[in-house]
Symmetry: C2
Subunit: 441 residues, 2 copies
């Protein structure tokens, strides 16, 4: 009979979610779904597996290396999705006529990347994306900012959303006559935080072909900013005057900021930051990142921007879009670090003990009566010593426990124990117990 036992283990870079984490995550996702719905966004879903060429559509060599890619039983070259933006572009190309325009959608789902595992980074993680396809309007850009703001307020996260527009830097580069080197310039700028101005200036000269004067001009431009966005906007406008792309970028940024205000976003949650570049090629206008103001070092918890050509990879239809992605795991880590993540490992309001086999069926009735009053009730699943059941209640950290002897149950009475204070109320009817619990939730 002795069968070889299989060693239970996980793949490197993957993890399990235990109850406390899974419960907190489920609550966060539901909170996000509520906010998305309040702005009229609808969910969609796409398969975890797709043809590899679809997923690699606009990808880089980097993406290719990160794919979980294989040949399926039918000999197809398939891969697990590594983000939710590429599947959205494929989706929009396929169902353009059914979904119509505008199309506001969200998608909360796992993605997989075969990255080198690091602390806090996993090969499987959940993305929460929300996008507006169709209109290339400043209002759409502002609505995405408003959704980020509402989502973070709903989760209790103090935040600042940093805005920029890709056209501003493009304009500046055009005026230097080096517009084609934009990618190299973006790569250099991305290193400002880590390597400092001197190193970036050298890279702008060496790799992006800028003169030392031009490099200084760019670094000075990126440093524009003041407490009042109106002043920053004025300085930006002055810097890009006479260059088409730059003037367009400044006008867009101004329009987006005006709309953001109309959407009711508090002004101190918004900031212009010209150094926000976003690595990805596909952004064409507004870009944004979001920091948690109490923990700025964890990096952006919600980033995105406007991409006006992405769907064209799969379709002959132009379909501008703007969207953002919330880093759920990073956000959870932040909330946990701030001590503002509820890490209860049970959704139960109360645990009902089972005193004996003979009264177990009455305990079931008691639990059912509390449940019908709208309470979450953990009924202990067998008769056991009371001490063991109370110890278990402590372990799962349930706030209240109902205890009742066989005799109490036979006259439909019970006692309610507050596990935090130790206080106990005796001789309650089931209805009275439910009322007490209802008023304490």
């Amino acid at each position: 009979m002795a069968k070889a036992r299989i060693q239970p283990r996980l793949l490197k870079g993957f993890r399990d979610c235990l109850p406390a984490t899974a419960l907190a995550r489920e609550r966060m996702i539901r909170s996000l779904q509520d906010v998305f719905a309040s702005f009229g966004f609808t969910p969609i879903d796409t398969p975890a597996l797709e043809y590899a060429d679809i997923l690699l559509g606009k990808g880089s060599e980097e993406t290719d290396k990160q794919l979980f890619r294989f040949e399926d039983n039918g000999g197809r070259d398939v891969a697990m999705r590594f983000d939710l933006t590429v599947p959205l572009a494929r989706f929009a190309a396929m169902y353009g006529n059914e979904i119509g325009s505008p199309f506001k959608r969200y998608h909360v789902a796992p993605v997989w990347r075969a990255e080198k595992p690091q602390r806090g980074r996993y090969r499987e993680f959940i993305q929460c994306d929300f996008d507006i396809l169709g209109p290339a309007s400043a209002q759409s850009d502002a609505e995405i900012v408003a959704v980020i703001n509402a989502a973070l307020i709903n989760l209790g996260v103090k935040h600042k959303i940093k805005l920029n527009n890709r056209q501003l830097l493009n304009g500046l580069l055009q005026s230097f006559g080096v517009a084609n080197n934009a990618a190299a310039v973006l790569r250099a700028i991305d290193k400002l935080d880590k390597q400092g101005e001197a190193a970036v200036m050298q890279e702008l000269i060496d790799s992006a072909g800028l003169s030392s004067e031009q490099s200084s001009q760019i670094l000075n431009f990126l440093a524009l900013g003041s407490a009042d966005p109106a002043d920053t906007l004025a300085a930006i406008s002055k810097a890009v005057r006479g260059v088409d792309a730059g003037e367009q970028g400044a006008a867009q940024l101004r329009a987006v900021l005006d709309f953001v205000k109309s959407y009711g976003v508090a002004q101190d949650c918004i900031e212009i930051d010209l150094r926000i570049a976003r690595g990805l090629d596909y952004y064409t206008g507004t870009v944004f990142e979001t920091i948690c103001t109490e923990l700025p070092d964890i990096g952006s918890i919600c980033s995105g921007g406007r991409y006006d050509n992405l769907v064209a990879v799969y379709s002959n239809r132009e379909l501008p879009g703007v969207g953002a992605s919330i880093g759920l795991d990073r956000l959870m880590a932040a909330l946990e670090e701030l001590g503002s993540l509820s890490l209860s490992s049970t959704p139960a309001d109360v645990l009902v003990t089972v005193a004996s086999e003979s009264s177990a069926s009455e305990s079931c009735k008691l639990a059912a009566s509390l449940r019908s009053a709208g309470l979450n009730v953990y009924l202990y699943p067998e008769a056991k010593k009371l001490g063991a059941q109370l110890k278990f209640a402590n372990r799962i950290d349930v706030p209240f426990v109902i205890v009742a002897t066989d005799e109490q149950l036979s006259s439909k009475r019970c006692s309610l124990k507050n596990m935090r204070s130790g206080e106990q109320q005796d001789d309650l009817s089931y209805e009275e117990a439910a009322q007490q619990l209802g008023s304490r939730r």
Copy 2:
């Protein structure tokens, strides 16, 4: 500039969820989560990818063929999970000390099977599993039945849960001296519905080594059943009298039925059906299937049972369990066929039109004001002709639309149009509009 366009397409057997389906599914999942929580179950999550030997733990050749299995970049033999029970067993073996006992968990997540695609069957689908690990009590079995019942009531599905106990048939086979042939007998019995009694009787004789008299006895036993479960239980007890396993099975079935009643499950939602076998080897006691009484032909929408040895594949600890799995996609198909699935493609209560660029920012304020009253508000994302916006509102089937001219908006007034009745209320303040919408939801 002309880049080769990639043909957007899906893998065979996979599908996208468009808004109406995704919204209905999200609502169903949230309804299920609420019910699971009301019984004190906690969520967990496990990775989509695992070592193949873990997933194949107690699997058959059939499972092996259905796996999406491949070698990852690190040369590991990995596969995508094909169910949520095997990962639960692995999880329980790894975290026994952390999770403690009893452990009530649910898990709602996609699984993948490389099955031959058929109408209504896909290679990726969502499972909703809920289990109680720890106590081998009749009360636990009954609680799982009570959760199924509550979940289906919450979803508005009329149902009947059919119960059996594996030990009853085992007892009968023991008394025939053919207990070792149980698997062959189960396989034959599984075909009763499709092939009829005569064919099954022949198979029992040919493949399971039973005499023709024994085969008749088994078929007569399986047909036991009457409107009153008490009568059925009495007949069963008589049939298995004197055989240990059979008497145990009868006592367990009786105890489970008693508890089910105490949990408040309506008697007409419960039935003993001795023909419920459940193909899987790992069930050891109570087994159940659930039919949708208005659509019995779609088969079981929620099945499961007690498995007392599963965790032992990965651990030296015995950990009995009982659980069930709701077939979400089958259930959705059923609800759709019954016309009781809401297939709205928007969560919005109202669409706010945008009359002109100059008043767009006031429309944002109007929308924000309705949102702060708790309404789901779809603000049209750009200024456009009113006709186009109303056409769009019809298309997404939103029940109400707010229209307002620049002049109305300048004095913070608007009109509310009921899209179903065509009725329109004019000259409302934003608060009055919110009140009207709130009272109509």
